[in-house]
Symmetry: C2
Subunit: 230 residues, 2 copies
DNA sequence: AAAAAGAATTATGAATTCAGAATTCATGTC
DNA sequence: GACATGAATTCTGAATTCATAATTCTTTTT
């Protein structure tokens, strides 16, 4: 919700170039275009974005605070790669945060928000039935975002986004075996049900367990396939 | 201005001036020297720190990512003040995070770490018995830090630090009525006991409840008399 | 031929400079 | 006398410039 008094979409407000660069760079990292461990050459990015080094360096400082890149004193910056250990560390944190989000959402969500989550959950099952993996991931993300938003806790949302960003690329690595995929859909339906029942404790427990199951899925997918011993 | 000849020192690694400035500025904010809502004048800080505007602005971008200051497009930066609503939002997050820290610490802490926590808990009671408020706060902080460290989860520690930083100044506002103070000490003793018993679930519940009780204390102290800062 | 040392090139760290916007003060008009 | 408009000053935003450190390539010596 924007400031209602802002009648016109005044393009007069300048979004601060360094912030724009930070968003663009964050996008490149989250999209996976910049692989983990890759060195950042300032010159390359300044030419790519068409800005000078100053806003780029400010943007890199921002992303380093977010944990997306690592700054090495006089040797530049590298995209921080997420190791298996990092995933094992981050997912319990995400589980705790999303559990809290679920509990607060159960208490605070509007009926509209609950209806939206229920609808998304139906669409999630549709995507699963149709075997549409990209759409499934998209809807899954939308559900989690909706729950976070329904928690009405900006600090929780920001904190979650910061942690989720660090493991974002692992999302695509969650290669769902059909059995676990099915289970994930069922878990989401239980979560939606608990939310509608305004059962904070149940929602919290279900969401937390759901995230931990996701960790198992991601870790399992890791141990199997692509052997990239980095 | 100081002698810049520190380049001749045995400083093999240079900690990046912008990071140093960020740490110093973070300290000023956390110490309360820069009050919430206060405007940051770059010129003033550059003169204070003896650096140019470039590293200072990079540092400010870092702190804005941490949520400690708010950047207003062409109007500079202001210290983000924590409202009562922010506290009410942040403490459940801290409760969830510390609960997780307790659970993981119960599983992973070394005997030495548990002994240290037990010793600190004893000192906490001593500080309470002696009515030494500053020492109590210090030991309390040390205990929570020790539990976080014992969780062996760097991401959890970083996330907690980020959220705790945003409500740091509220720490001093927790004016403990003696009854609640007594209760807090007892809670800490229960937490230490649960940790020694390696009871993850109990530790998690106790720590989480402890943090929520702290929220009540802080909010209560706010409504009463927020008169004397310090 | 291989390894080490030194020089050159490249990239990063930081300050200065330049441009643009906002706020404040002064002046003029109603 | 008060309010509005314009100009000046101050502050932020961004690029350029300068310095320093690291890496790489070349040459020399073993």
């Amino acid at each position: 919700m924007e400031d209602g008094s802002d009648t016109r979409r005044t393009m007069i407000s300048r979004p601060a170039l360094a912030v724009e660069v930070a968003n663009a760079l964050r996008g490149l990292i989250l999209e996976g275009e910049l692989a983990g461990g890759e060195k950042i050459r300032e010159k390359e990015l300044t030419e790519r974005f068409g800005v000078s080094r100053t806003p780029l360096r400010e943007a890199m400082k921002m992303l380093s605070s977010e944990g997306l890149i690592d700054l090495i004193p006089n040797r530049g910056a590298v995209i921080s790669q997420t190791s298996a250990a990092d995933l094992a560390d981050a997912f319990p944190v995400l589980a705790a945060l999303e559990g809290l989000a679920g509990a607060q959402a159960a208490a605070r969500a509007t009926e509209d928000e609950l209806a939206t989550i229920a609808r998304l959950t139906d669409e999630l099952r549709d995507a699963f039935s149709g075997g549409e993996r990209p759409r499934y991931f998209e809807i899954n993300q939308a559900i989690h975002d909706a729950i976070l938003a329904a928690s009405r806790n900006p600090i929780l949302q920001r904190t979650h986004a910061a942690v989720a960003g660090q493991v974002h690329r692992a999302r695509y690595q969650a290669n769902l075996a059909s059995a676990r995929w099915q289970q994930a859909v069922s878990e989401h339906e239980e979560i939606s049900k608990a939310l509608h029942a305004r059962d904070a404790a149940a929602t919290q427990a279900l969401l937390s367990a759901h995230m931990m199951a996701k960790l198992s899925s991601v870790m399992g997918g890791r141990s199997e396939g692509d052997s990239a011993p980095r």
